[in-house]
Structures are given as C-alpha cells and as structure tokens.
C-alpha cells in the first residue's frame, strides 16, 4: 500500500551528493514530493529529508541502495507517526489589499506573522504542515497573492538515539 514516507539521509559533504541520491529514485520511477538538505547537528555531516509516496517495500530497497553509496553515513525511512516535521511558507501580497482590517483576522486565525511591510507589498510567514500552510493560502487568495513559496519538509525523529551514536557504531565496524 502506498503511503507518505520520509527518508532521512546523512552524508559527507561532497560534490554531487544530491545527484547521487536522487538518481536512485529516478531509476526506480519514483517521484519525490519534496526534498531539503542542510548541515546536521554534526559539523560536516549533511542531512537530506526526502518525502515521497510509495510502498514500504519499495522504499526499504531504495534505502539499501542509498546506504551503498560510498559517501552516505546512514539512511532511514520514517512513517508519519515516527517524526515531528514542519514546512515554512512565504506569501507576498499587495499592502493595500489588507488595510480594511482583515489582515489582523487572517494573521490571528492562522497563527501567521508578518515578516516585512513595504509601501507596495508585505510578506507573511507561516510554518506548519502542508495542510495548514495551504489553508492560509486559500484565505489569502481572494486578496490576490503576488508570490508564494513553500519549503520542503524538515523533520526530526521521535526516538532518542542520536546521530553521533550511529556514527560511533559505524566507526567500530571498520
């Protein structure tokens, strides 16, 4: 059965890692819904968070192929219940469209915040799950959205085992 899964990959910081990881999905005709990458809590170790819809069987084989990459330290697959995750969205709208007092209602109801106000436009920020950032998108739509950007998912896991522990285990293997 297909479900939304989150893949976390920890890698060395080498050129082309993103490409090495994504071609493994491409080869298996798997479409990635979102991807984020940045340095993890350990210096020099990068964390990729990849979200896609597929079966657990398929994604577990993908994990095997990812872990086979020389510069990959560890890869995990998580179901929705095993992680705490978040996305961020930015909305750019004309400043004058919200001067009738509705801005306060929209911001309050959506627990969003205003990042900047320019004479011509303003930028609103909202963090949350896709459903929540999408809800704000719908609320702002009647006012006219000039630009909209949503990040990929970032996620941390619920289990308490730290990356450094995994790395120590790996050190002992070699």
């Amino acid at each position: 059965m297909e479900k939304t899964v989150t893949v976390s990959v920890f890698t060395e910081n080498s050129i082309g890692m993103l490409n090495r990881i994504t071609i493994i999905f491409t080869r298996r005709h798997l479409n990635i819904d979102s991807i984020t990458a940045s340095e993890s809590e350990m210096k020099g170790v990068f964390r990729y968070t990849i979200v896609l819809r597929t079966t657990l069987e398929k994604v577990n084989k993908v994990i095997g192929q990812i872990e086979k990459l020389v510069d990959v330290l560890k890869a995990f697959v998580h179901e929705e219940s095993e992680i705490v995750h978040q996305e961020i969205a930015l909305y750019k709208i004309r400043t004058n469209t919200l001067t009738n007092g509705d801005v306060e209602r929209v911001i309050r109801e959506n627990h969003a915040r205003i990042l900047t106000v320019d004479p011509e436009f303003m930028v609103i920020e909202k963090t949350g799950h896709v459903a929540e950032t999408q809800l704000l998108f719908e609320s702002l739509k009647p006012f006219g959205i000039l630009e909209f950007a949503r990040s990929g998912r970032v996620a941390v896991t619920k289990p308490m085992k730290e990356l450094s522990t995994y790395l120590k285990e790996l050190e002992q293997l070699s």
Binding site: E12, I15, G16, I23, K61, G64, D71, L73, L173, S174
Partner: protein, 564 residues
C-alpha cells in the same frame, strides 16, 4: 632546503606505481596529454597497451581484472573518450569488476563552458560507477587515486572513475603517497554474524534436500577452497550461475550444473523441489529465477552476500548472512555435519540423463549435416581439458559455451553476464591474456558480436598478444532469431546478417586464420589453432537456425523449463 616538486601528471604515474599497477589499457587525446607525456618515462615500469577504441580498453581491463584478480586500469581522454567508456562501466558495475578509469578533462576554468571535448563525465558516469570524483588540483591527485583503488577492490568490487582536469595534470605539487585503508562512511567488510551462521547450519543439518547455488562472489572473495571443503563435508549438490562457472570444478561429483534460462534441466527443476536453498555470492538475477513468485517457494532460503542491499532484494531470505563468502563458508563448514545425500544427488543425475537423452533425440530428428555449436564447444573443452580461459560474447554461442565447456579452473570464465554487452569478447580476451599470460585464452564469439568491436584486431596486431578467436557464424543474430521463431511467429525482423570474409580480414591484421564448414575438419582445425604460437582466428560455419535448449521462457517458472 629544496623540495622536489613533480607535476600532477607525474603524480598520477607515481600513485599507480605505488598501487602496483603494471598494465594500463588506454587511448590518448588532448585532455589527457600531460599524463601520456609522463607515461613516456614510465614505459619500463608499466606496460601500456594502445587499443583502437575506448570501449575496447575498458572491456580489455574487465578481462584483465577477472583473470588476474587485480584492479584493471584505463586511461581515456575527455569528451568522446570518456563517453566511450560508459558501456564498459555499466558492465563492470553489474558484474562486480574492480576497475579504475582515469579520464582527462578540460582545464578547470573551462568547466561548464562547452569547451572542445568537454562533457559532464561525472554526471554521466554517476549511475554506472561504484564511486567517481573530479580532481581540479594537482595536490589532490594522490589521495583521489588511493581512495579509488581502495573502493574499487574492497567489499563488492566495482568500477571507479577519476576525472582529472588538464590544469591539475600540469600543476606542480610535493608528492607523497598513502594508501587508503579506511573511509568513515564505507564499511566493505562486514563481520560475520555467528548467530546467523549457526541458524544456517541448523537448517542445513536438518535438511533432507539441501541445494547450494553459487555465484561469482565465490571467486571475488577467493573462497574456492572453502567452497570445496563445505560441499565435500556437507555432501550438498552445487549448481552455478553464469558468472559463477569455474568457481567449483565442473568435473566434481557434487557439481550438478548451470542455473537459469538456458541452464541445465536438473538444477532448475530441483530449485523448486529442494527444502533448503543456500545461495552464496549470487544475486538472484531474473535470468536465474524465472518467475520470482514461483521460485523456491517450498524452500527455506539462506542467502550469503557481502552486499547488504542484495539480501531480500529479490528473494526473501529466511536466514540472511551479510558476510564475505570466504568467512561465512569457513564458519559454516565447521558447523555442518558430514553427510552424503546420495539419493538426492541421484535425482539430479537422473534428470541430467533425461536432458541429455532428449537433446540427443532432437538432434537426431534434424539429421543435419551442418555443424552445431555444441559440437564445437565440446571439442574445445576436450582439447583444452577444461583448463583454458574461455571468453564469450553475448547470445546463443555464449549460452552454448556456458552449457558445454567444462570449466575446471577458477577465473577461467570471462563473459558479460548482467549487462549482456555484445562486442565484449574480443577486447576482453586481449585483457584476459595480459591478466593470465600462462593460460591459453580462447575467445568464442558470434558473427554479430565480433563485428561490434573487431577494430581490436589492431590491438592484437600491435601488442602481439596470443588470443585464439573462434567465430561461430550462423549468419544470424541467433538469440534474437530464436526468440522471433518461438515468440514472434518467425518474423525474422532484421536478424539475418551478411558478414565480410573474416579470414581475409584477420590476415589484413597479420593474424593467422582459417574457415571450416564440415564436421570432419573440426578436430584438426581446433588442434591447429590451439597449438599455434600466437593469435589465430577460426571461423566455423554452424547451422543457421539452431536453437538453445533447455529454456525457461520469460515469465515462466524454473520448473517449467522446456527441453525442446
């Protein structure tokens, strides 16, 4: 104090010498000229063989690596030089062959500018290499080469590519070399899990009909002796995949044959009758399993592999053993009981007799005067005593050779298994001879495959390498024609082939050559080429429309193997 600096190009050669490289196959060009210039001074240390096409170079080193057990080394230039390596890289990756390819690249300030002979070789080769990297500074060359050699030959071996920009080759650096022995994110040698091996031994000791299927992993881990000890102590019948042929002597009483689509009847049928299936150093390729949903369903499966991603990839293992084959076999042999399994082995023998009888009957029905491929292979096998290095291309002749050559020696079967690359055999045979100069190397090739890389006759001419070439000419792309006959209503779409006069062609390259068409000439002709000093090409005209049987049709179960 004066510190002597050397160029990046010299550092490449010094690094290769430090890795004990003595043979390189390659082809020069603009972006690799500094390395070739440095090579000029190393001609007494390393033997460089000039090929006629980069694909020839990489297939040659595949042959070299597989007979010698060492890492094969290729030089090629940027752009087309590098892209010509791609087929060989894909072949080496799927067949686990350790190679290091060094490609020249345009100067680093030209990267991404569509400069002359610039191509994104890192991007293109990423899916077909075990690892690759680009070096843009001279001082980074030794570490990259050290890492490349470590990765290529450890764990499950594979091809590695290093792309070196021209400015890095020209740049100066202080040379020092340290071999790579550890990479934090890479763990090639798993520790054997004793509990898993104990669980495997328990299953084996209780088994009534255990069956051992082996692959190339046995040879890659140098576990031939351990395999022999295990098979002799446990009494378990042994069958081999295409790439595993030779890992277990084919004349051994416990050997029961070749697995898969065109394999032997007994091991295919018995796969679905055994109670414990022990798979070592093989990956359950679809040509071995047939329909996976009807493969060994009745059996408990023990799967030993050094590559963790192979375990449970195709066939669910009841007892997975993530280990080097040699380590696992040593431990397993200690733990299994001594047994004979005489009655079980007899079942294989009876099935084998049935296969031989049926195939003979089919042949007798044809009453053809034409020479058949299997006769040629059996004769080559007899004359060489099953001890030659046999290199095959892809197609009917390949399956016939796998079926009828009696591989009694390890590292003696060189063929393109996973990728099925036509044009592999001629260059691979050249490399195989450099890797095993003391052995007779026989390349058996179809008329189609030979014409894909026949330019390498020029390499034979120039390097004076001794390779025996046997072309089995059926004037068809035989395997495709067979499928057209069986599954496409004999619609022979573009499989008939008109070929040049191969004898004249060989003579143009100063290679001795002959052509035979009759059975009476076969033995003398083969004796002549096999006893000849130096290369020899023999063209054997064989039946036009012979089929390879047995056969497990695509989508069928191994137990539905057809004998005719």
């Amino acid at each position: 104090m004066d510190i002597t600096k050397i160029t990046g190009a010299q550092a490449v050669l010094e690094s290769l010498v430090a890795e004990n490289v003595d043979t390189i196959f390659g082809y020069p060009g603009g972006a690799i000229m500094p390395i070739y210039d440095a090579l000029y001074d190393y001609s007494n240390v390393v033997n460089h063989i000039l090929v006629r096409h980069e694909q020839g170079a990489i297939h040659a080193v595949q042959g070299y690596a597989r007979t010698s057990g060492k890492v094969g080394m290729v030089f090629a230039t940027s752009g087309p030089g590098a892209t010509n390596l791609i087929t060989g890289l894909a072949d080496a990756l799927i067949d686990s062959t350790p190679l290091v390819c060094i490609t020249g690249q345009v100067a680093s300030h030209l990267l991404g500018t569509d400069a002359f002979q610039e191509t994104d070789v890192i991007g293109i080769s990423m899916p077909v290499t075990k690892w690759n990297c680009q070096v843009t500074k001279a001082e980074d060359i030794p570490a990259a080469i050290a890492k490349a050699f470590y990765i290529a030959q450890t764990g499950r071996p594979g091809p590695v590519l290093i792309d070196i920009t021209k400015d890095a080759q020209f740049g100066e650096m202080e040379f020092s070399y340290e071999r790579c022995t550890k990479i934090r994110s890479y763990h090639p040698k798993p520790e054997v899990n004793k509990q898993a091996v104990e669980a495997a031994a328990l299953l084996i000791n209780q088994a009534k009909k255990p069956f051992l299927v082996i692959g190339q992993g046995i040879m890659l881990s140098n576990a031939e002796k351990e395999l022999l000890q295990f098979a002799e102590k446990s009494g378990i019948p042994v069958a081999s995949t295409l790439l595993g042929l030779g890992a277990f002597p084919n004349n051994h009483p416990k050997y029961v044959g070749f697995l898969g689509m065109h394999g032997d009847y007994a091991p295919n049928i018995k796969t679905n009758e055994c109670d414990v299936l022990i798979a070592i150093g093989m990956r359950f390729d679809d040509r071995v399993t047939g329909d996976v949903s009807r493969y060994a369903k009745q059996a408990k499966v023990i799967h030993v592999d050094i590559d963790a991603s192979e375990i449970n990839k195709i066939i669910k293992a009841d007892v997975p053993v993530h280990a080097d084959a040699k380590d696992a076999l040593q431990l397993l042999t200690e733990l299994v009981s001594e047994k004979e399994h005489t009655a079980w082995l007899q079942e294989f023998k009876s099935a084998k007799e049935m296969e031989v009888r049926t195939l003979q009957e089919s042949a007798a029905l044809l009453q053809s005067e034409e020479l058949k491929m299997d006769e040629v292979i059996k004769m080559v096998s007899k004359i060489t005593n099953g001890e030659a290095v046999v290199v095959t291309d892809v197609g009917q002749h390949q399956m016939m050779t796998a079926r009828y050559y009696q591989y009694n020696k390890t590292k003696s079967n060189i063929t393109s298994g996973g990728l099925g690359t036509m044009g592999f055999a001629l260059p691979a045979a050249i490399g195989a001879k450099f890797g095993a100069p003391e052995k007779t190397v026989v390349a058996i090739i179809g008329d189609g495959g030979f014409q894909m890389t026949l330019q390498e006759l020029g390499t034979i001419l120039q390097s004076k390498v001794d390779v025996k070439i046997i072309i089995l000419n059926n004037r068809f792309l035989g395997m495709v024609r067979q499928w057209q006959q069986l599954f496409f209503e004999k619609r022979y779409s573009f499989t008939e082939m008109i070929s040049p006069d191969f004898v004249t062609l060989a003579k143009a390259y100063d290679i001795e050559a002959a052509k035979i068409e009759t059975r009476t000439d076969l033995e003398d002709a083969l004796l002549k080429i096999l006893n000849h000093k130096g290369s020899y090409l023999l063209e054997v005209m064989v039946a036009k429309e012979e089929n390879v049987f047995p056969m497990v049709p695509t989508g069928a179960s191994v137990s539905e193997i057809r004998l005719n």
